[in-house]
């Protein structure tokens, strides 16, 4: 056994967690075993160790037995380590004199039918924890100041709400958006369920607020290039994409006083390049110099340099006074410093054309829900007249395929999860058809109608009573009549128990949603994990739904999982609140798991330097020798240098080599020498 400087006086406390632990293994045996261990002076058990009386047991025992180490055998340190560290500190010990044995999440819950095996494992877990506890040292957490600024990535409704909340709480907030305008997906929608508010009407005030707020630094047409640092001190490099158009401030900076884009649109009129408009789902044209939609914020034209032919007509049209167009503009970079970040990067739709059986992109009259939104919207390509793409006629029978790619385990582009808002927007579409086209009938092909929110079920009843038809069955396939371009929908009516074939004028697919294409890149830059289905992973689904496992990074909106507008806004407000806490506190405590160099052993080989991804290590001259030096502010405590040092000169605090070796020895040798 390794030598310890002081005599170990360890208390072991075993939690029953009700029957969560006590129901699967023998607490009594573990306790008796713990008492026999080297250095253990007291072992105790309790129903709920995390409760106030449970914690009091620890605090009292520290004082009574003059303990210098505490081991709690209970749930996961990822859950309750902070709780018990606080109790250890209250008992008068340094809070790092605490070690946890995870006998619930990694024992009693996973070996529920193996009493003997689980008990043996629990004994070993306590043994391993005691072995480490014997070697723990006092450590001081490092306190670092927090930058009084925040970053919100993505300016959809979630990002805008989060930015407004942070800014209104007095925090300088950088709102970064990839597109040339704020607004996000919501600006493409016509109405919102179940209130039927006009989407733009409730969105534009927020867009204007975002533009006007003195604490919001808006960065549109900008992407994140690089993320460095940690909670309190993130350094983020932004890439402002070449826009080709100067705003009045930029124009003034170039000496064109009174110049810059005023949104008049003369440039777009003369532009000869015509491309499909992605905002209108490709159903309307767009010039190479464009505004994203009529209500853009900021009102500033943008050149799509992928399609611009640099003919210069727009420069002439803009004129010598405004001089707003610069065809030679290039990407620029900006470095910002923020304390916390909120990711609100939104979602995409699955490429539903890959579900060949529904014929999207094969048949003209099969469209998606988002295309329907544009067709029914008064500001859309048809000024709100719902028409069939094949012949411009008004459809009288419109089929809706719900769960198109959601709740589908067939693989490919299909997703096993529920996309959560399709049921409700299909109901809304059904209502809109009946409202706008007298005599038209919507047919909804559904598996279940999930009307879960406030006033949603009532809206479902309303649409039913208005005359929408509901057919419970998953659509098998859709075929087109080549002459009439009408569509036949084949399904099984599972309520009647027989196959049906129904002719429709038009079919709308409620395509499943999926994480944004660049979510993976962004996630890795910010160090955020993903769930099995690819959405960004929250720290805890119930207790920390806005946070992530990386301190200082928070989530809002659909990027964390499908949700509708009310839930997105609610989560955004939660994330803003969470992100403002470290900023308002002014400082954060970092766990002191820093690398330390034992200069007597260090040979100055420098092999550790390129192990460190943070550049925290450097070679310095000390007392005539070359040795490694750690910059604590840069060290994040991964221990990669310590795992590599050929001489064993690097000490990783709280995860030292002697501590880990003691854990290995304890289990394998059980106190004997080999």
């Amino acid at each position: 056994m390794a030598d310890t400087k002081e005599e170990s006086r360890i208390g072991v406390f075993i939690c029953h967690c009700g029957t969560n632990i006590a129901g699967s293994l023998s607490i009594e045996d573990v306790k008796k075993y713990a008492e026999t261990l080297d250095g253990v002076v007291v072992a105790d058990d309790y129903q709920y160790m995390c409760s106030t009386p449970g914690q009091s047991k620890i605090i009292d025992a520290i004082k009574e037995h003059n303990l210098n180490g505490v081991v709690v055998a209970a749930c996961s340190p990822r859950l309750h380590e902070p709780t018990f560290r606080t109790a250890t500190e209250e008992g008068g010990l340094n809070k790092f004199r605490f070690e946890m044995a995870n006998i619930r999440d990694q024992n009693s819950w996973v070996h529920m039918h193996d009493w003997e095996g689980a008990t043996e494992k629990a004994k070993d877990q306590v043994l391993i924890a005691v072995a480490k506890c014997r070697m723990l040292e006092d450590l001081q957490p490092k306190s670092v100041p927090v930058e009084h600024a925040a970053l919100v990535l993505g300016a959809g409704i979630g990002g805008m709400q989060a930015a407004l909340d942070l800014a209104s709480a007095g925090i300088k907030t950088y709102l970064v958006e990839k597109l040339p305008t704020v607004g996000g997906r919501m600006s493409q929608l016509d109405k919102t369920f179940p209130t039927l508010d006009c989407s733009q009407c409730i969105l534009t005030p927020k867009m204007v607020d975002v533009g006007r707020h003195p604490n919001i630094e808006l960065r549109t047409y900008t992407e994140v290039e690089k993320v460095e640092g940690y909670i309190g001190n993130f350094t983020i490099t932004l890439r402002k994409k070449a826009r080709g158009v100067l705003d009045p401030t930029e124009a003034e900076a170039r000496g064109y006083v009174g110049g810059g884009c005023n949104g008049c649109g003369d440039c777009a009129e003369v532009c000869p390049v015509i491309k499909p408009n992605p905002f209108e789902m490709g159903m309307a044209p767009r010039k190479a110099i464009y505004i994203y939609h009529a209500q853009v914020m900021p009102l500033l034209y943008t050149i799509d340099f992928d399609s611009c032919v640099k003919c210069g007509l727009c420069v002439d049209a803009c004129g010598p006074e405004k001089r707003a167009i610069d065809l030679e503009s290039v990407d620029t970079f900006e470095e910002i410093k923020v304390g916390t970040c909120i990711l609100a990067i939104g979602y995409d739709y699955i490429p539903i054309e890959e579900k060949r059986e529904w014929g999207y992109k094969q048949f003209d009259n099969v469209i998606t829900g988002l295309e329907f939104e544009r067709l029914i919207c008064a500001s859309g390509p048809t000024t709100g007249h719902l028409i069939r793409p094949s012949d411009g006629q008004t459809p009288m029978k419109v089929g809706f395929v719900l769960c198109a790619g959601s709740r589908d385990n067939t693989g490919g582009v299909a997703k096993p999860y529920c996309s959560r808002f399709c049921c409700m927007y299909c109901l809304k579409h059904a209502h809109q058809i009946m409202e706008k086209i007298p005599g038209a009938v919507p047919y909804l092909f559904y598996m279940d109608i999930r009307a879960f929110g406030k006033m949603y079920e009532e809206f479902y009843y309303r649409v039913q009573s208005e005359g929408a038809k509901f057919i419970r069955g998953r659509v098998a396939n859709i075929l087109e009549d080549p002459t009439t371009k009408n569509l036949t929908v084949y399904t099984e009516d599972t309520l009647l128990g027989r196959p049906v074939a129904m002719e429709m004028d038009m079919v709308v697919l409620a395509a499943a949603v999926q994480p944004k294409a660049d979510a993976e890149k962004i996630r890795q830059m910010f160090g955020v994990s993903k769930s099995q289905d690819g959405w960004l992973l929250e720290a805890h689904p119930k207790l920390n739904p806005c946070g992530t496992t990386t301190a200082g990074i928070y989530l809002a909106g659909v990027c964390q999982g499908p949700k509708d507008i009310p839930d997105t806004v609610a989560q955004a407000e939660g994330a803003a609140s969470a992100a403002s806490i470290p900023i308002h506190t002014g400082e954060v405590q970092l766990e002191p798991y820093f690398a330390q160099c034992n200069e007597e052993i260090c040979a100055g080989c420098g092999m550790c330097l390129n192990q460190c991804p943070y550049g925290a290590l450097a070679l310095v001259e000390k007392n005539g020798r070359t040795v490694m030096e750690v910059t604590e502010a840069k060290c994040k405590g991964c221990g990669t240098c310590g795992g590599f040092c050929p001489g064993g000169a690097i000490k990783m605090q709280h995860f030292t080599s002697p501590q880990i070796c003691a854990q290995i020895d304890a289990f394998l040798l059980k106190g004997e020498d080999y």
Binding site: S76, P77, R78, L79, N102, R104, D105, Q106, N107, W109, V110, H111, M112, H113, D114, G117, A118, E120, K121, D124, Q125, I128, Q524, G527, S529, K530, S531, Q532, L537, T549, T550, Y593, Q611, P613, Y614, K636, G637, C638, G639, T640, G642, G643, F644, G648, M652, F655, S657, I660, C661, Q663, I664, D665, F667, L668, L669, Y674
Partner: protein, 141 residues
């Protein structure tokens, strides 16, 4: 080849952010697996010194598992790469001393892969049981 009642001694060194969280998730989901593995938590698999592995085998471990984040997911950017590179070295060392290198395993289990953690546990225990007790034990007494 092996005694029915023989329980292998397997040590897992797993990272706090992915595999340890995945193992906790397996617990929450009540995924059942054999109880033979003892986990040691480190912040990152980059912390794993090849000497820890050699020490464990010297002490008579029948198997070892190192489990971290998927490539690209490392909480510390690239600790798992650094660890994975070392594992090739250690596996060669194990072969050179006459130990089957299947006794050492590196896996990548994310915080959302509770079910995968269960599968890894089943598989590691099965592999080590098939290989039988570590031959190193024979030579030590």
């Amino acid at each position: 080849m092996t005694d029915e009642n023989w329980n292998p001694k397997i040590i897992a060194i797993i990272c706090n952010w992915c595999s340890y969280a995945g193992a906790d998730l397996a617990g929450g989901a009540r995924i059942q697996y054999p109880p033979d593995v003892r986990a040691i938590r480190v912040m990152c698999t980059g912390r794993v010194d090849p000497l820890f592995i050699m020490k464990a085998f010297q002490d008579g471990a029948d198997g070892m598992l190192i489990s971290g984040c998927h490539f690209g997911d490392c909480h510390y950017l690239e600790g798992n790469y650094k660890c994975a590179k070392r594992m090739f070295l250690v596996k060669t060392l194990l072969k050179n001393i006459g130990l089957n290198d299947k006794r050492l395993r590196m896996t990548f289990v994310s915080a959302s892969e509770g079910a995968k953690w269960g599968e890894v546990m089943e598989d590691v225990v099965k592999t080590v049981k098939e290989l039988g007790p570590s031959p190193i034990k024979k030579y030590q007494r």
